[in-house]
């Protein structure tokens, strides 16, 4: 847990932090990989929701450089399987995610990120 699919959907939401607040940067990430069921339709349908370059960067930060820099137009089985692996099978168990804009640090413990804001950060 914290899979890259989730990371791709989370932005910093501290008060006033509305631009350059995504993607969050990983630090001290401890990674585990675990198999997940492959569902080609799910992955294909999710593609339009992804911020592709954020995903490529996040994977690279974790040492995975298998994704093309540009999302391909042709989604063949091999590509979908690899995307599935990157999105759903890499888990960040410990570490933290930091906002590139306001530097808020969201800690990850036991695979669960703490996205709670402090009192002075809520809208």
């Amino acid at each position: 847990m914290v899979r890259l699919i989730t990371h791709n959907l989370l932005a910093c939401h501290a008060r006033g932090c509305t631009s350059n607040n995504f993607p969050l940067r990983f630090s001290d990430a401890q990674i585990e990989t675990r198999k997940a069921d492959f569902n080609a339709d799910f992955i294909r349908a999710f593609m339009p929701k992804l911020e592709w370059s954020a995903l490529v960067d996040a994977a690279k930060q974790l040492g995975d450089t298998s994704l093309p820099l540009e999302a391909p137009d042709m989604l063949d089985e091999e590509f979908l399987k690899n995307l599935h692996r990157v999105l759903l099978e890499i888990h960040i168990e410990e570490g933290s995610m930091t906002c590139p804009n306001c530097n808020h640090r969201y800690p990850i413990s036991n695979g669960i990120p703490n996205m709670l804001l402090a009192e002075d950060e809520i809208a």
């Binding site: 932005a11 799910f42 929701k49 695979g111 669960i112 709670l116 804001l117 009192e119 809208a123």
Partner: protein, 471 residues
């Protein structure tokens, strides 16, 4: 050509029957219609379906179905039933020459003496079935069901009133309901991780069926707690995302987190996509239109008040400055920071939830949630007043606990418009003149739903009623 089928329902949650039938048929892409005079409050219901396969799909997924029969006839007397059954000869004549069969005669709200069971079976002699009777492994099973009025609260000696049924039904078994056994499979007491907010398994399963959970779908519970609805949703193949303001609810003690341990027990851990700690009113979602369904049991605020980040009373400027100073200085202990929270009133929360769902659901997606309410004061407009454009109410089923109840509300996002994220600010709330019965539910609950009891001191409100409530 459509055929008629007789559904034998489990005796519970009457108001959930039709919504469940509709959801499961929509999930599989077919429709059903009620036969004339069918009453969903009664335990036997006749419906039209285009094919037997549809009947089987319903029997495999509907939690409230005990069995589905091909319908041969009904009547308020056996004379009427036999006439109807004779008229439907085409449905059963192919079984006459050599099909082995078994015949059962049972009743709802009654037990039929053996002797009369035999008489009933003999009264069908005109069907002339020549195959052998096989009690263990028959090719077909014929069922005859007598429905008696509810004798709740009265005592009758066994067999009293025998024969004075309301209606009798007859048909051939298509399939026993196989989804009902999931109630035992997901039993909370047998789960390796649960808490005092866990939802009983039958209701969790009914909620899950309202979401149309299926492989490849993405489902979200923003008040995840111990994850009761996540397990059946993942079991039906969906990916589930959960969040909660209180990480301890999802985690429990020990590793991995409690929800993951329970999901492993059911073999669905790979489909719990992620768990996140945050206040849903201060959420980090980067964009909307993400989920096929949102299913949740929001905090009613009875045990611990429903809450959101903030303070009940703002700090004075001096105290606030001091506080922030203190927050900035590095702390010697490694205690996680726990932000202050303020109460979150239920009617505001419910209205916010609908607007949040409109933002986060894909077009056509569903919001399924429980709304507790005060029985005597509830009005339909309570639900209508929290709706907003682009969202349509498709089901509203009551679970009745006496003076209070809870309504399982299913709402569909009908619009394809992109909506902005909700502000969650009380100032911008859709205010309606109407005060719904679920407003200030917590206070009303502790007053025992009386209007004369003191408002502000729970201790003097008498003993707290022992309903199966949780928050």
């Amino acid at each position: 050509m459509s055929h008629q089928y007789l559904i034998v329902f489990a005796q519970a949650h009457n108001e959930f029957r039709l919504p469940e039938l509709s959801s499961v048929s929509e999930l599989h892409g077919f429709t059903y219609t009620l036969a004339d005079g069918s009453d969903p409050q009664r335990p036997f219901m006749v419906i039209h379906l285009a094919s037997e396969e549809h009947a089987r799909l319903l029997a495999r997924r509907c939690i409230l179905i005990k069995a589905i029969y091909q319908f041969y006839g009904q009547g308020s007397t056996y004379k009427e039933l036999h006439e109807a059954n004779r008229a439907n000869r085409a449905l059963w004549e192919s079984y006459i020459p050599k099909t082995s069969f078994k015949f059962i005669v049972t009743a709802y709200n009654h037990s039929i003496p053996q002797r009369r069971q035999r008489e009933v079976i003999e009264s069908f002699a005109y069907m002339d079935f020549l195959g052998k009777i096989d009690m263990n492994d028959p090719e077909i099973l014929l069922g005859c069901f007598e429905e008696y009025p509810d004798k709740h609260g009265t005592t009758r000696v066994k067999h009293e009133g025998d024969g004075s049924f309301l209606q009798v039904y007859f048909g051939k078994l298509i399939e026993e309901g196989s989804a009902r056994q999931l109630i035992g499979q997901f039993d909370v007491k047998k789960r390796v991780y649960y808490g005092n907010t866990s939802m009983e398994s039958e209701i969790s399963l009914l909620m899950t069926n309202q979401t149309l959970a299926a492989p490849g779908k993405l489902i979200y519970d923003p008040f995840m707690g111990t994850g009761s609805m996540a397990y059946p949703a993942a079991y039906f193949g969906a990916f589930v995302f959960g969040s909660d303001i209180d990480g301890r609810q999802m985690r429990g003690k020990g590793k991995p987190p409690g929800i993951i341990r329970a999901a492993k027990q059911y073999g669905v851990a790979a489909r719990i996509l992620d768990l996140c700690t945050f206040d849903v009113t201060q959420n980090p979602w980067r964009c909307g239109e993400l989920f096929d369904a949102i299913v949740t049991d929001p905090p009613y605020g009875v045990r611990a008040g429903a809450k959101r980040l903030g303070r009940k009373r703002e700090l004075s400027p001096e105290r606030r400055a001091k506080y922030l100073e203190h927050r900035k200085s590095p702390r010697p202990d490694d205690q996680p920071y726990i932000p202050p929270t303020k109460p979150y009133e239920l009617s505001a929360l419910a209205a916010d939830l609908v607007i949040l769902a409109r933002y986060l659901l894909k077009p056509g997606g569903r919001l399924v949630f429980f709304l507790p309410t005060v029985m005597d004061d509830y009005q339909e407009v309570d639900i209508n007043s929290m709706m907003c454009s682009g969202m349509e109410l498709i089901a509203n089923s009551l679970q009745d606990f006496g003076s209070w109840g809870r309504r399982l509300v299913t709402i569909r996002k009908t619009s394809t418009v992109k909506y902005p994220p909700p502000s969650f600010s009380p100032e911008e709330a859709v205010t309606s003149e109407h005060v719904p019965a679920h407003k200030d539910f917590r206070e009303k609950y502790f007053r025992g739903f009386r209007t004369d009891a003191p408002h502000d001191n729970y201790e003097t409100a008498g003993s707290v009623p022992h309903y199966p409530i949780h928050d």
